[in-house]
Symmetry: C2
């Protein structure tokens, strides 16, 4: 295995505080027991060294099993990636389609809640988020399309919230698609560096970025050109 550095091991990654998040809580409705453990191990490996460098042996070793154990539960490494990406996107979508969003008093409160929840979700599940954002090119065409469908739905929640605020006059007349792309970047880029043991809780960074997102759609903001 000439291309593997000796300093990587599944155990090193399990112990790496940069890769610790709450992804293991995501699988409950779909998988339990060993299968859930394999998904969590795969999240750590894919987030740590990438899908292409991860072996099925690494994934099994993360739960203390023999090299072929993964195949008892998943037909391929690609299927493991798909299940992580599918479930990750489904959970993130459900989290920003919460009753709290539907009950928001107005367009500003609605957008604030959506951004704060989207950001907090990605902070709390940043390792899964990293896999969902950086590893999709390794999916089969069919699986890629299924995940793209979920991404369109997430995009749609943001676009709808911004469009409603523009239409009712709460927000400036912004370029909806491009502003939404910027808001999503704020929520997504943090998976690159966020740590749960850092200074900001997921909810704190969520609230802060919700303020930044609202500033992007504010009417008559006054940056002075002295």
């Amino acid at each position: 295995m000439a291309r593997r550095q000796t300093r990587f091991s599944a155990q090193d990654m399990v112990d790496d505080p940069r890769l610790k998040d709450e992804s293991p809580s995501l699988w409950g409705d779909d998988y339990g027991g060993v299968a859930a453990g394999l998904l969590s191990s795969a999240v750590t490996c894919f987030a740590g060294i990438g899908f292409n460098a991860t072996t099925t042996r690494d994934i099994s070793a993360g739960v203390g099993l023999s090299p072929a154990a993964m195949y008892v539960h998943f037909a391929s490494k690609e299927l493991v990636l798909f299940e992580i990406a599918r479930i990750g996107h489904e959970r993130a979508l459900a989290f920003i389609e919460s009753p709290e969003v539907e009950q928001a008093a107005d367009s500003t409160a609605r957008l604030r809640t959506i951004v704060a929840r989207f950001v907090a979700w990605h902070a709390r599940h940043h390792a899964c988020g990293r896999v969902c954002q950086y590893e999709l090119s390794a999916l089969s065409a069919e699986h890629y399309e299924a995940v793209t469908e979920l991404r369109r739905a997430i995009n749609g929640v943001f676009r709808d919230a911004v469009r409603r605020g523009v239409q009712d006059g709460s927000f400036a007349d912004v370029d909806v698609d491009r502003v939404v792309r910027g808001m999503l970047s704020l929520g997504i880029d943090l998976v690159r560096w966020y740590r749960l043991d850092g200074p900001d809780s997921p909810e704190q960074i969520g609230e802060f970025y919700a303020d930044l997102a609202l500033s992007m759609v504010a009417r008559g903001s006054a940056v002075t050109s002295a």
Copy 2:
């Protein structure tokens, strides 16, 4: 090579429009000829399948050379990564420390120019940017520290620009470090999805994101809470 998918090849990556950028123009002051070609090939491979999954054979194949050719010019794959990261960060830093920034009429114009140039640089060199943002954990401790020093300098340019605007009253009294983190995320996240053959030129997305960044520091922005 059980872990490599047959659908990856250095040639596929060279031909992939998602990985085409202007990184080959970056090496001129440091490397020419075959060495420069190897760096460009490595950018494509690292951005396409990740550092850990790339072999020295892949890097050599990208310039049509035999497997060991890389070692004539670089002692290790890690050194190739370091040279890409070092040069990439040095060029990005130089680009936002341009005379155009120093000659800016006021704090608003200065921040606008810095953000627009930072974003345009990352758009134009998005494959190199992807390596610089997502692959640093594969660097040796010493090389990681050297790159971190350059990242601190880039961060410092943004912080200084925001702080000056806060101090002279051009901007609101914002949390400088956290706002800068958000601005950098706007400029960085685009390396994940930007393509030079897409609808926005590097300069267009630079100007658009400069507007978003200025909105983040605007005084008295009016998001109505109806």
